[in-house]
């Protein structure tokens, strides 16, 4: 029992969840049940589940900050942490993280059941091994670790409250700690965001591959009829995350007013590339003529 809880503690740390709970504090504040380490009753668990959601949202944002600077680094702390700071505006100034969260949580036509299957694979598999937890996480009482675990599992089983961005973040963080176990320590909430640029690339190498060990565990834990579909989904997801991060970094989403259909300022991507320096055009003085003066061809 003790070993199992220790394993779950490491697993939650690798997802980034335990670190986020500790760092954000308050999840167990005023919860008598947590203080004495007893099994929470239904209503107490409901409250903890509710409290966990903003923690997961912060974790997701932190993780996706670490993702989007992979494609468009800038003058921010995440770009510095990955070792590729740039003086010009980058993905964060373009609000690419918001773009990713809005896309993943609001519009990805991903069946809830599939997201839940992935989350279920995450939540039920992969006991943590071989990593050393930072003191704050290691010191969290076993009762509280168990409560976080139950709250997360409850959340993951309820597809209505399952934000895909959180699931994606947990996946990236889990693999990040496979790439570098030391990523459970350090600045930021997210182990993934703590990696170097090369380390983040190594995460995607495992996802794109995809890593057979990871896939076999996820697939084996997924319920029918999803068994066997997760490996293909990982390949798709790995690619889509990078491509969408690039699309969001260089597009106009961050400064677009959908009601007025206007821009509040020139998009970062336009400034970086010199695209349409004075805004949207009706046409360009770009026609040279016809090649070899031929305006039509024979049959």
């Amino acid at each position: 029992m003790q070993d199992k809880v220790v394993g779950r503690r490491a697993f939650l740390a690798r997802l980034g969840v335990l670190g986020a709970v500790v760092a954000t504090g308050g999840l167990f504040a005023d919860r008598a049940v947590a203080a004495v380490g007893l099994e929470p009753d239904g209503s107490a668990l409901d409250q903890i589940v509710e409290d966990l959601q903003p923690v997961l949202a912060e974790l997701a944002r932190d993780t996706l900050n670490g993702l989007v600077v992979m494609v468009c680094p800038g003058p921010d702390e995440y770009s510095r942490a990955q070792g590729t700071p740039r003086p010009e505006d980058g993905a964060l100034e373009a609000r690419a993280t918001d773009f990713m969260i809005a896309s993943l949580d609001g519009f990805v036509p991903f069946p809830d059941q599939l997201g839940t299957a992935l989350a279920g694979g995450l939540a039920s598999g992969l006991e943590g091994t071989g990593i050393t937890l930072p003191p704050a996480q290691a010191a969290l009482p076993i009762g509280q670790v168990g409560t976080v675990d139950r709250a997360l599992t409850t959340l993951l089983r309820n597809d209505a409250t399952l934000p895909l961005s959180a699931v994606v973040a947990m996946l990236l963080n889990l693999v990040a700690t496979q790439v570098d176990p030391a990523a459970v320590h350090g600045p930021f909430l997210s182990p993934f965001a703590r990696l170097s640029y090369a380390g983040k690339c190594a995460v995607f190498e495992r996802l794109e591959g995809p890593d057979p060990a990871l896939v076999s565990v996820l697939d084996s834990k997924a319920p029918e009829p999803f068994t066997g579909t997760l490996s293909g989904m990982l390949r798709f997801l790995a690619g889509a995350l990078l491509e969408f991060a690039a699309y969001g970094s260089y597009g106009e989403w961050g400064v677009f007013d959908p009601d007025q259909k206007t821009l509040s300022e020139q998009p970062v991507g336009w400034r970086l590339t010199g695209y349409q320096p004075d805004g949207v055009v009706q046409g360009w003085d770009e026609m040279i003529g016809y090649y070899q003066d031929r305006e039509r061809v024979s049959a």
Partner: protein, 594 residues
């Protein structure tokens, strides 16, 4: 009971609807997505607003943009770029209209006859299709593209390679040329004046045809103020659909189609007739209300696309005795070459692509201009992993610079900051084999409101030897063109499946062992059920952009329907087509308030 129900108002369905409406038949045209009747109000020139596959107005999803897009299962690193809405994928296409090379048709006897996918030829000869090509070329109309700066770069590279220039419609040798495209040639101030919102010289009629605005992929709405049928790009929402809606105005005895949008067809109905299974009608779901409607018809034509036609087929329980429904999905095994120049290339301006090279038996290479977000997407899309970090089992080296793979991080940013108009991009379109393994099935994932969803399997690394060799050949030719034109750096992306030039999942063919449709475009096992979009194509059309061939075949299929089902006379060889820019179409649309 209708005479004909057409499922899908995209590049193929709109053609059948227009042709049969012109013959006076009672045609119901059903479209799952929106109409986009007022493009001035509904569209913008912003690429996320337009092209985001989740939220853009040119997505595959319901008319209500606050609702999620429709999903499909993609069990691999790939991207399926479907569109709903009147015009279908032609809403964002580049209007390119090359004819398929003669070698992909039955009976071809040229010296290069063995260079093609000879196991999956069209079930008729090239000369049989030529009159239909000519009919479509006149209707759209298809014209020789005007040249911008990025075309000049492409031609300079081809000139340096010593390639001959093609000056005919039919491709017979390795060559290059301006595109034959369905974009009205610039007139007046168009292409000669730069201007922002409100520039009066760029409004119709001071400007006519293409204004070189650079927004082909975001949907064409220029010249502003032009009647809908005089918008420069001849996507079917600007050409065939306006003709279908006004058929009584320009065709003697014509009868306007009934167009119903926001109408997702969920089932094809059949009955037993004379001992055969025969199509009898369809049921569709109204997106706004969730209500289901049913109508019967003498003939049903499927034109919902390469992914949705098989889905609808399976969800309707239609027969598939040789197990070829949904199989043979070809996508031109795309690849992409991105170059940077020290000089201006005009990459974000002008038409999407107005220059191409043709390589019979191999495929084609064409220049492409894109705005920044799509360019960044293009450069991060690869089967070779992240360049310089890992190869994902590939990452080949070649005449391009360094290994193939995703450009990311500082490298991507440096490339973008080199200036969008100093970049130069080329799309490699492979003449790829029809392969059984690439297919559409029904997903085990939960059904949506329209039934079980499609699962698209593309086995990227198991392509045939000929297909792989063709792509390698074309990539090298593209790199040669870029270097000969003066490129500073040249990157190869090694794209995974970007499922966009889609073909052949309901293929017509010579043999009933490996095809779904007969030579008339009719389902072999369901009487009165036809297919008339890209999915009907017998093969990848030699690696050329498929729309023109689809529209020619659809015109032929419409004629077959009219003569064999309604006792009418054929018209393509005996009449002259009305061009879609005809004043009567404009007047009819104006009278209808469209």
């Amino acid at each position: 009971m209708r005479d004909v129900i057409v499922v899908g108002a995209g590049g193929g369905g709109a053609v059948v609807a227009k042709e049969l409406a012109a013959r006076g038949l009672d045609v119901l045209l059903l479209e799952a997505g929106p109409r986009h009747a007022d493009i001035t109000e509904e569209w913008t020139h912003y690429e996320n607003d337009a092209n985001n596959p989740l939220t853009g107005f040119l997505r595959f999803g319901p008319s209500d943009r606050s609702q999620p897009a429709w999903y499909r299962e993609l069990p691999q690193n790939s991207f399926l770029w479907q569109l709903s809405g009147v015009g279908g994928t032609t809403q964002h296409y580049f209007g390119n209209c090359p004819r398929a090379y003669p070698g992909v048709f039955a009976g071809y006897d040229g010296a290069d006859r063995d260079a093609y996918d000879t196991a999956h030829l069209f079930p008729f000869g090239y000369s049989e299709l030529v009159p239909y090509y000519e009919w479509v070329e006149a209707t759209l109309p298809v014209q020789t593209a005007a040249m911008g700066r990025k075309e000049e770069v492409f031609f300079r590279g081809c000139e340096q390679l010593g390639l001959p220039v093609q000056t005919a419609k039919t491709t017979t040798e390795d060559s290059y040329r301006p595109q034959e495209n369905a974009i009205l040639q610039p007139g007046g101030a168009a292409g000669r004046v730069s201007g922002y919102e409100g520039e009066p010289r760029l409004l119709y009629p001071e400007a006519t045809g293409c204004t070189f605005c650079g927004y082909c992929f975001q949907g064409c709405s220029h010249p502003a103020k032009a009647p809908r049928n005089l918008i420069a790009k001849r996507s079917t929402d600007n050409s065939y659909v306006p003709m279908a809606l006004t058929a009584d105005r320009w065709a003697p005895g014509g009868r306007p189609v009934t167009l119903v949008t926001d109408a997702f067809v969920t089932r094809v109905h059949t009955e037993q007739r004379g001992g055969r299974t025969a199509a009898s009608g369809v049921t569709w779901r109204e997106g706004a209300t969730g209500d289901h409607q049913r109508e019967d018809a003498k003939v049903v034509v499927l034109a919902a696309g390469c992914t949705e036609n098989p889905r609808l087929w399976f969800n309707s329980g239609l027969p598939d005795p040789n197990d070829w429904v949904g199989r043979g999905y070809t996508d031109h095994y795309f690849d992409w070459i991105i170059a940077s120049f020290d000089s201006y290339t005009g990459s974000s301006k002008g038409t999407g692509s107005s220059a191409r090279s043709d390589w019979p038996g191999r495929g084609g290479v064409m220049n492409v201009g894109l705005p920044p977000a799509l360019k960044a997407f293009t450069m991060t899309f690869s089967d070779s992993g992240i360049r310089g970090q890992y190869g994902n089992g590939r990452g080949e080296a070649g005449p391009w610079d360094g290994p193939a793979g995703r450009l990311m991080g500082p490298e991507l940013k440096d490339m973008m900051m080199g200036g969008i108009d100093q970049m130069f991009c080329m799309l490699v379109m492979t003449d790829d084999d029809v392969e059984r393994q690439n297919r559409v099935t029904l997903s085990a994932l939960p059904a949506d409101e329209h039934g079980s969803v499609a699962k698209v399997e593309m086995h990227q690394r198991q392509r045939s030897r000929r297909t792989v060799a063709n792509r390698e050949f074309l990539v090298r030719k593209g790199v040669e063109i870029a270097r000969a034109a003066g490129a500073r750096t040249v990157h190869r992306m090694d794209w995974p499946p970007l499922i966009l030039h889609v073909q052949s999942t309901m293929r017509m063919g010579e043999s009933e062992r490996n095809s779904v449709l007969d030579a008339d475009g009719q389902a072999r096992w369901v009487d009165g059920l036809y297919v008339a979009d890209n999915s009907a194509l017998a093969n990848s059309a030699a690696g050329v952009n498929p729309t023109l061939t689809t529209q020619a075949v659809a015109t032929r299929t419409a004629e077959k329907i009219f003569t064999s089902r309604f006792g009418g006379a054929a018209w393509v060889r005996s009449e002259a087509p009305v061009v879609s820019t005809d004043d009567r179409v404009a007047q009819g649309m104006d009278d209808l308030g469209l």
